[in-house]
Symmetry: C2
Subunit: 271 residues, 2 copies
């Protein structure tokens, strides 16, 4: 029976889950059964979740693991009264900060991913709309762009741009390298004027063929030969014009975004 | 002079920054100067960042605050040898887990937001492509949809759908309530067959007018009267057909997504 891991929060639960996951990657636990419980902001919700923890323990025969960021002490206490292994993520980290600042923390609920500032929210929405408008070479006006991702079709440009916008508030455009662009052996005219903003994505041809096959089965577009040719030409282009670039094959969207921003020295926010 | 806060990681830095931000929301520090340093995975990078911390202290005249998730002890030690207030986010939380599991943690670098599984990655990309294809009523085939967001133009549907896809791997479509839909007083035919998947967004008319004004200045579309009418009609529709709904005005994208998934009892992943 897999051990149950609870991520419990009085807000969205994103902090609890992000950190809990990171901690679990440090251990080889095998399969775990994950339960997310956001918005535990009343005594009755806290009682419900304490009961769910007890039921999981009875069912699994193993102590559940509980990661929580509950601010209200009486609610946190209800979780600690179960027999689970309870890790108060904030509690253990706040004490050194209280000492440093000479301040006692405000016990404010749901702050971390709540809406705290309309202006930063607007910037984020503006970046998202920018990414949608400048996706796949649709709008070629790159005056406001922070970065222009280039790469062959299905190399990961679109999700990377959207993630940069939503998570970091960065205005990211993307331009697809077409077969014509690749055969010309030159940077596409559309992006040539913004050299310092260009970042290239590349990918292993085998992985690209797999992705394209799902989209257009048995097409020439998805054939390994075609993928090899396009990827090879794109890499030659990056080297010839000293375009910074990255292989996305074994790289998560988070890593791609962080590396691109880091290499281009772009300011990033985090929401 | 604002105090400098460093978020330092051997990986993307997303865990360090997410948790560091959450902790800072518990204090009223006023303005802080934030510095992100991802990919500190060599001794020389660790020395560079230790020097940057010392420089910040000299410039600010105030001790910098350092949140880090560095796994390699000799690199972490370089940070601790500065005079900054250094919080090792993993270190303080791993000990109780080691006791619980009877295991010593593996000191693996860059796991939290790295690419660990191609299948979950593919699901996430599939959800993102789904959201793009089903944005703004473009594709009305909702067979595979987990949720269909409805709402008037600019009520926050698109960013919410994209975030659900990228962050939670949920297939989210969205359908705009047009003036014709609203005047009919009925649920739009396109979504009527998928009643259990519908979730409504609403927004304060003043905020909507502000958002629309930025898009089409001085238009009837952006006028407060028009916004009031559309929002009022949408809310009547939600009530009449018992569509679960949420006001997005003071709600972050993270909160909207988490609440929608919670209300519809949708399974969520977190990347």
């Amino acid at each position: 029976m897999a051990r149950t891991v609870f991520f419990i929060s009085d807000g969205t639960g994103i902090t609890a889950e992000t950190l809990g996951h990171s901690l679990l990657t440090q251990f080889d636990l095998g399969e775990v059964h994950q339960v997310r419980v956001p918005f535990v902001d009343t005594r009755s919700r806290a009682e419900d979740v304490a009961n769910a923890i007890r039921r999981a323990q009875a069912d699994d025969g193993d102590r559940p693991l509980v990661f929580h960021t509950i601010i209200e002490p009486t609610h946190a206490k209800l979780l600690e009264e179960t027999d689970a292994c309870v890790v108060d993520l904030f509690g253990r980290l706040v004490a050194p900060l209280e000492r440093e600042f000479g301040l006692v923390r405000k016990r404010r609920v749901g702050q971390a991913h709540g809406m705290t500032n309309v202006d930063t929210y607007d910037l984020r929405m503006e970046a998202t709309n920018f990414a949608l408008r400048h996706d796949d070479g649709a709008d070629l006006d790159y005056g406001e762009a922070d970065v222009i991702l280039v790469g062959v079709s299905r190399s990961g440009k679109t999700p990377t741009c959207l993630y940069m916008a939503l998570q970091f508030g960065v205005k990211a455009a993307n331009y697809p390298l077409t077969v014509d662009d690749l055969e010309s052996g030159n940077l596409p005219a559309a992006v040539r004027g913004d050299r310092s903003k260009i970042f290239g994505l590349t990918i292993e041809p085998e992985r690209l063929a797999h992705i394209r096959e799902a989209r257009r089965p048995e097409s020439r577009y998805a054939s390994l030969a075609q993928c090899r040719r396009e990827v090879g030409d794109a890499e030659v282009l990056y080297q010839r014009f000293k375009v910074p670039h990255l292989n996305t094959t074994h790289t998560s969207v988070e890593e791609i975004c962080t590396k691109v921003l880091h290499k281009l020295r772009l300011k990033r926010r985090l929401y």
